[in-house]
């Protein structure tokens, strides 16, 4: 009760706060909808391409040997536990969605420190058999960390996105076009008004 009290605004602010909250919530859902942020909840790579900004990564992944084995989220989202997975997705998703909607994206996207760590753990998750060796681990205390202390793509520089990392690096790639969030009826209506 006392906690609630602290959180709830004083009475005279209630109305304005409700209004502001409603607006914020509305904006949030609008952002969520227009930017297709819900796609972050899915594992289908096509949904990442909801932002044309993700097209180069999609196209390069499409042509990589990982296409058959690993989708975007296999690499880019933590797989150590379910909570972490959705927490990370939600956090990243909303940040990317906001940046995208605000047109603040940089020309050359570069993976962030945190995301970088997530990917590395996923490489290891799938390839652990190859890179560490149970027997070596038993005598060589640091064998596992020695084998994983550099990012895998320091050597495997082309896995899976190739080396050229610009929004424009794959201009003609066939990328699934995002479905428009504008409903068909509205499009029709707009066409009508143009006539």
């Amino acid at each position: 009760m006392s906690i609630l009290k602290k959180i709830l605004p004083p009475d005279k602010w209630k109305i304005p706060v409700i209004i502001v909250s409603a607006i914020l919530l509305g904006l949030f859902f609008f952002l969520f909808y227009v930017s297709n942020a819900s796609s972050y909840l899915s594992d289908d790579p096509k949904t990442c391409v909801n932002c044309h900004i993700m097209a180069p990564q999609y196209a390069t992944w499409m042509h990589s040997s990982h296409r058959e084995w690993a989708n975007c989220n296999d690499c880019h989202v933590p797989h150590n536990n379910v909570f972490n997975k959705y927490y990370f997705k939600g956090k990243d998703g909303m940040r990317h969605a906001s940046i995208f909607t605000m047109r603040a994206e940089p020309q050359v996207i570069q993976i962030k420190e945190e995301g970088h760590h997530v990917v590395q753990q996923n490489c290891i998750r799938c390839h652990s058999n190859l890179i560490t060796d149970a027997k070596m681990n038993t005598i060589h205390g640091d064998f596992h960390s020695d084998r994983t202390d550099r990012t895998c793509w320091e050597c495997h520089r082309e896995v899976p996105h190739g080396r050229v990392n610009s929004l424009s690096s794959t201009p003609n790639a066939k990328v699934p076009l995002p479905e428009s969030p504008v409903p068909d009826w509205l499009k029709e209506a707009l066409k009508e008004t143009k006539k």
Partner: protein, 462 residues
């Protein structure tokens, strides 16, 4: 919503010809490219050795005055700046002199060739050879728009286009057809119209200083040297040493070709005109400049390295090359002064011949490695190779000079004059800077305004 941006970005509407020289006209259709092009007017950025600010090279390094004694470059030479200034700078420079009704410019019209989209227009009107012919003031009222769209683009398709005959002719003489170039090659070849070593061939058509690229024997520093040697060509005779000199002019494309980036298919435009997105549309950034002012969009596309590290890489290569360029420059100053001493002590032509050829070849290598400004990054290993061989040859000249001077009874070090400032160096080689400068001022205050007036009247009728 932003998806539509890509679709509605522009509606090409070219109501002008291929020879429209005014960038604003083209720019009306392509505002993004035009606006970014216009940023080449910015002169603020300065990197360790380059950038868009005007750098008075002779002031920075007065030894160059001595190296170019007897040649226009000893009067004034600046580190180049943005394309926006190309026409202004060729007017301002002391090298083009101060022509007026009674005095001609020491330079030919060929000097306009790489400065403006008025050039293809005029070539189309009067013909190529006719364009080059005569002294530089002839087209003063015709060439007024700085480097721009018509220099690189086709008016109908906006595809890249070679507008300058010298490059096409150089390809032809090598048995290559430039129209077969790939799209990626074109992204460098448009630059190779201008950022190349050239000379004025006066034998091709009598009385015409015909713009020519010395590539017939190959694209290396040695191949061009051999080409010039075989035809006994020299740009000028050195005032002190009397050596038949070559001036290397910005062999940017040639040296770039020898570097690892060219080897891997990276083009000039990849670094100097990287893509940029604005409002959902990708376009080519036409703010051509030092990539060090735009590391994020140029280098970092391919190199996931922090910007300051990439810049440090560029500087460290430049430093390592410049260290020996500096040595070579010192040696060349000494060689010219020692050669003068040999003449003064009574040396004859025969005794001097091999020495003067050495000086020619050594200075050619020095100039070749620095004139393009980007070479020590574009191709550090090749540039280092050229500088090394230059040092060797300069010193060979000096060994021969030492022996000759000893023969002539002067077996001790030759004193080097005080050339610690541009002013002192220019005085030493006998330039009357006061007159040159005041004549230029007069010219800029009287003749140029007339040119501009004439041009604006002409353009208003297009």
């Amino acid at each position: 919503e932003r998806r539509s941006e890509a679709v509605f970005a522009y509606a090409p509407k070219n109501d002008f010809s291929q020879f429209e020289p005014r960038n604003e006209k083209w720019g009306a259709n392509f505002p993004r490219e035009f606006e970014s092009y216009y940023q080449t007017s910015d002169t603020i950025f300065r990197s360790k050795y380059n950038g868009s600010a005007t750098i008075d090279e002779l002031e920075e390094d007065p030894r160059m005055v001595v190296l170019w004694a007897g040649y226009g470059f000893s009067k004034e030479y600046n580190q180049g700046r943005g394309h926006y200034y190309a026409v202004e700078d060729v007017r301002n420079i002391l090298r083009t002199g101060a022509p007026n009704d009674s005095v001609k410019s020491p330079m030919p019209n060929t000097c306009w060739t790489c400065k403006s989209p008025d050039v293809p227009r005029m070539m189309n009107e009067v013909g190529i050879a006719e364009f080059y012919k005569g002294s530089w003031e002839k087209w003063g009222a015709e060439i007024v728009n700085p480097i721009g769209c018509a220099d690189c683009h086709d008016v109908n398709t906006m595809q890249l286009r070679i507008s300058r005959p010298a490059l096409i002719e150089a390809f032809e003489r090598q048995g290559k057809d430039i129209s077969k170039a790939t799209h990626q090659e074109m992204r460098s070849l448009v630059c190779a119209q201008c950022h190349v070593e050239y000379y004025f061939n006066k034998k091709k058509i009598e009385g015409v200083p015909y713009l020519t690229f010395p590539w017939d024997n190959g694209m290396t520093v040695e191949a061009a040297e051999e080409y010039y040697d075989n035809m006994n060509f020299s740009d000028w005779t050195h005032k002190l040493s009397k050596a038949p000199m070559l001036k290397a002019q910005h062999p940017g494309y040639e040296t770039y070709l020898t570097g690892v980036h060219a080897e891997r298919g990276v083009s000039c435009a990849d670094c100097h005109m990287p893509y940029k997105s604005q409002g959902g549309v990708k376009f080519t950034d036409h703010h051509i400049q030092s990539p060090l002012n735009n590391v994020a969009n140029s280098c970092q596309v391919c190199h996931r390295e922090e910007a300051h590290k990439l810049i440090a890489d560029v500087y460290s290569r430049q430093d390592k090359i410049k260290e020996n360029v500096n040595i070579l420059e010192d040696l060349l100053v000494k060689a010219h002064v020692e050669a003068k001493a040999a003449w003064d002590n009574g040396a004859n032509e025969e005794q001097m011949q091999a020495i003067l050829m050495d000086i020619r070849h050594a200075q050619w290598r020095w100039d070749y490695s620095v004139a393009a400004h980007g070479a020590s990054f574009h191709s550090p290993v090749e540039t280092g190779r050229i500088v090394s061989s230059g040092i060797n040859i300069a010193q060979e000249a000096r060994i021969k000079l030492t022996r000759l001077l000893a023969d002539l009874g002067h077996n001790k070090e030759v004193e080097i004059p005080d050339i610690s400032t541009k002013a002192k160096a220019q005085e030493y080689i006998g330039l009357d800077m006061a007159t040159l400068n005041s004549d230029k001022e007069e010219f800029l205050g009287t003749v140029v305004p007339q040119w501009l007036e004439e041009a604006s009247q002409r353009e208003s009728k297009y």
